[in-house]
């Protein structure tokens, strides 16, 4: 008799539990716009901060990029509709702008069910660079905050 009651009532119990859980949605912990993380050393041992950077321009449009400094590096958003992006930097105390042009492959992929699809970048290559020196640390850009390019600039 107990078994009969359990089986008859089972869908109502489960739907009640699932109904309550369905109201909760998991948060997204990944950045929804993966981009390049650039470290700039103004002297061999001095990491540039937001205070050192005057302006970042998108190379082709001359629109300013909102400056973001994330975990010791500058965040640069990459074009999701083209295989290249350009940036011009103006550092305080410097007269010349520094140019960085990048080339990459794009891949639209699922970051997670909570975050949805984002653009990943692979085979990152530097086409043009007027920093004094540059090292590509990682040529794949995903949703992590890893540094991709490390640059050095004498002032």
């Amino acid at each position: 008799m107990l078994l009969k009651k359990f089986v008859i009532l089972f869908p109502f119990i489960v739907l009640l539990i699932f109904g309550i859980n369905a109201c909760e949605s998991d948060p997204c912990f990944f950045p929804k716009e993966p981009g390049l993380y650039l470290q700039v050393y103004l002297k061999p041992d001095t990491l540039a901060t937001l205070a050192d950077l005057d302006t970042v321009w998108l190379g082709e449009t001359n629109n300013g990029v909102k400056k973001r400094y994330v975990k010791g590096s500058f965040y640069l958003p990459l074009r999701q509709d083209r295989d290249s992006s350009s940036f011009k930097f103006l550092f305080k105390g410097a007269t010349d702008t520094v140019i960085l042009k990048l080339h990459y492959g794009r891949k639209t992929g699922l970051a997670s069910a909570e975050c949805g699809y984002v653009t990943f970048y692979e085979n990152l290559a530097v086409n043009r660079n007027t920093f004094d020196s540059l090292v590509t640390v990682q040529n794949f850009i995903d949703t992590s905050y890893a540094v991709h390019i490390r640059t050095f600039l004498q002032r």
């Binding site: 009969k4 869908p11 999701q80 639209t108 069910a113 699809y117």
Partner: protein
Amino acid sequence: MAQNVSDSVRTDGIRFGIDVIKLGQGISAGNLNNGLEGFLAWNRNKQVYVVELGTANINKAIANFQESSKGAYIRLGWEKNMMRKGDDQICLGGRLGTSIFQFQAKDIGLTSAQYGNYVITLPAKNAYLFWLEANASARINLTSWLGLGTTIRLQRKIAENFDTYYYPTNIPGYGNFSKTLAFGFNYYAFIHIPFKKYRIPPTELKPRGSK
């Protein structure tokens, strides 16, 4: 006290039925193509052999995209009936499941504060998934030929052919792919066709622990 005769018999037979929750969802949506599931179980003494078949056509808005998954699935398994007498069953067992389906991510909204937003659709992809399940089932007869049953399943995926960055979140017959261990359940209405009825030996009916 004399043993009730109907309680001291066991029946070999088949049960076949349909998932009434999926059927109800299809009727309420006005489209039975959204998915149906049925089962066939053959029991011989305490051994129960189960086949579950289903179709699904899932269209769901998730985060910044619309996902569609369409396909069919099958689960094959075995259970042991833990009830000592009567036609009602409480079973424990396992299944091997496979789903063959096509999925597609549509209307993906990629956002960029600097460059503007883009909407793209990725191509449809054929895929499969194999998984193993541990099951607990309960089936009761409301009449001699009609009954209700439920199955609770704990699933673990074992093989699939998805890309690292392009995979479905909802899989027909399995559910949420992002979970390594997934729970699921079914609720069936079934028809019971007994083949053979036989009296249970008195030794089997003795209370557990008695000599």
